[in-house]
């Protein structure tokens, strides 16, 4: 079994339901996110549009976080999930430095690394990840990539524009996007400017990385 995710960006409407469901399900502390939706505005008025990109751990086949973890706190499960053992983690932040997708953070409450686990605890009970259940338009498609009859496999067979983030890193992500552009997937393809955020006074709590 090789579990994977696919997000159809044609369907995603940026409601952030997945983000909230993830927060609640996994008790993700304030100021940290296992899953977040990035908004990028594209074009020049009046020809403008807003793109939405749900971002979470890519559960790479060749995961740099698993490789650099000195104590195997990050490890592969048999179903392909890159899981984390928070009791084992020493908080060296090596995984934070290694993940090319910025998907790992230091939990300010436990002072250990944390990230999306594809809701491994729910999957163990034969349930879907919380974000999949919450999505009102079924933009999140989850399933076994090795099973040709699974929803995700069928979806990938039907669509030719299946992409991953940063393929040049050689990580072989198990998280795919349909309908993505450079603006969605390449962090350098869009500007980040003061005063252009929807909420200009976003505050972040200390994550323990201030040394």
């Amino acid at each position: 079994m090789q579990l994977g995710f696919l997000v159809d960006l044609h369907l995603c409407m940026g409601c952030k339901g997945c983000e909230i469901a993830c927060k609640v399900e996994n008790e993700v502390p304030l100021s940290t996110w296992r899953l977040r939706v990035k908004y990028v505005d594209v074009g020049t008025f009046p020809e403008t549009k807003r793109t939405f990109t749900p971002l979470r751990c890519n559960h790479c086949e060749n995961a740099p976080c698993e490789r650099i973890c000195p104590v195997s706190a990050l490890h592969y499960l048999d179903n392909g999930i890159v899981n984390i053992d928070k009791e084992r983690c020493i908080g060296c932040a090596g995984c934070v430095m290694a993940c090319p997708y910025g998907a790992i953070y230091i939990d300010p409450e436990t002072q250990t690394a944390d990230k999306c686990t594809y809701c491994a605890h729910r999957i163990a009970s034969s349930m879907m990840p919380a974000c999949v259940v919450a999505c009102p338009v079924e933009a999140n498609i989850f399933g076994d990539l090795e099973d040709p009859s699974s929803n995700i496999s069928k979806y990938m067979q039907r669509h030719s524009d299946v992409q991953v983030r940063k393929p040049e890193k050689g990580t072989n992500p198990h998280h795919y996007y349909v309908g993505a552009s450079q603006t969605h997937l390449n962090p350098l393809a869009s500007r980040r400017e003061e005063g252009y955020s929807l909420f200009n006074k976003i505050t972040t709590l200390p994550l323990g990385g201030h040394h």
Binding site: W33, R36, V37, K38, Y39, V40, D41, V42, G43, L55, P64, R67, I68, C69, P70, V71, S72, R88, C89, I90, G91, C92, A93, G94, V96, M97, A98, C99, P100, Y101, G102, A103, Y105, I106, Q111, T112, R165, K169, T171, Q182, T183, N186, P187, L188, A189, S190, R191, R192, E193, Y196, S197, L198, F199, I202, T204, L207, G208, G209, H210, H211
Partner: protein, 300 residues
């Protein structure tokens, strides 16, 4: 940056909550800086043994003690940087050998243990023959202990600026630069002028080679990848770390190079000592800038 894409799409991030922190900050800079001096002194002591062992008489004990202290500073800051310090023992009981952090922790522990043994050999037994035998093995071990941090940086796949073997070369050069500088300061008048000039030459050449590599990264790095180009923007023009970058380059490399030449021309050991102090101080700045700038880039 992807300038073509920007021009075509005028894409602006309007909502994102990317991880904002610099996770490896000055604690890790202290780690790299102290380790460079610690292992560098061992390299220099071994060179002195091979070049002129008679000059080692008064230097064996102080050099190994200073190296031991610097290695313990390195270990202390490595430990302090952990968010779960009390779980440090996991590295030894749950080691994951694909991680350069694990390999390095084990080697550094062995290294410091051997240094403690060498100190005991000198202070308790005054056995210089055994000390010199141990020095050979400790020097061999000092090579991977110096290099493993480059392995960690290379394993940090997200940080395109840090590449192997460039970082390995910079680690070795940092050790020879700071080791020779520390030896010049530590030895004082205990070394002959010829030997001092020898260490001065190592200092000057290490500075020259490290400077060339940084400049090649600075000038040509952007040609390799857009991520590198974006990272180097932080040290170019009015970039956030441009001033600090050039302060580091001048203090660690350019001024020491010039002062080494001047000390040879004027036969002044005080100028050489000044070069040594600047090199050690500047190395901290250089290492810090190179550590921080890749962390400023948004990854998502």
């Amino acid at each position: 940056m992807v300038h073509e894409t920007l021009a075509a799409t005028n894409a602006v991030v309007t909502l994102d909550v990317a991880i904002p922190d610099i996770f490896w900050g000055w604690y890790v800079t202290m780690n790299m800086w102290a380790k460079s001096i610690g292992t560098g002194l061992i390299f220099m002591l071994f060179l002195l043994l091979k070049k002129n062992s008679s000059e080692m008489t008064a230097l064996r004990t102080p050099t190994i003690i200073v190296s031991f202290v610097m290695m313990n500073i390195f270990l202390l800051f490595t430990w302090l940087d952990l968010h779960q310090m009390l779980r440090m023992w996991h590295i030894f009981f749950y080691p994951h050998w694909t991680s350069a952090i694990t390999v390095g922790a084990w080697m550094a522990t062995l290294f410091v243990g051997l240094e403690a043994l060498m100190i005991a050999v000198m202070i308790l037994k005054k056995n210089t023959e055994l000390f010199d035998k141990l020095l050979f093995w400790v020097t061999l071990l000092a090579i991977p202990v110096t290099l493993y941090t480059a392995g960690i940086m290379a394993e940090a796949t997200a940080r395109e600026l840090w590449q192997m073997p460039t970082e390995s070369v910079q680690m070795i050069l940092a050790a020879t630069l700071s080791g020779s500088a520390a030896m010049i300061l530590l030895a004082g008048s205990k070394l002959s002028d010829e030997t001092k000039n020898f260490f001065g030459a190592i200092l000057g050449l290490s500075a020259l080679m490290a400077f060339i590599i940084y400049m090649s990264e600075y000038i040509f790095g952007a040609m390799k990848a857009e991520e590198v180009a974006a990272i180097l923007d932080y040290v170019k023009g009015d970039g956030e770390y441009a001033t600090m970058f050039w302060i580091g380059q001048w203090v660690a490399y350019i001024l020491p190079m010039l002062l080494v030449v001047l000390s040879r021309v004027s036969k002044s050991s005080s100028i050489l000592s000044l070069a040594a102090i600047l090199a050690i101080a500047g190395l901290w700045v250089v290492k810090h800038v190179w550590l921080v700038i890749p962390q400023l880039l948004p990854l998502s």
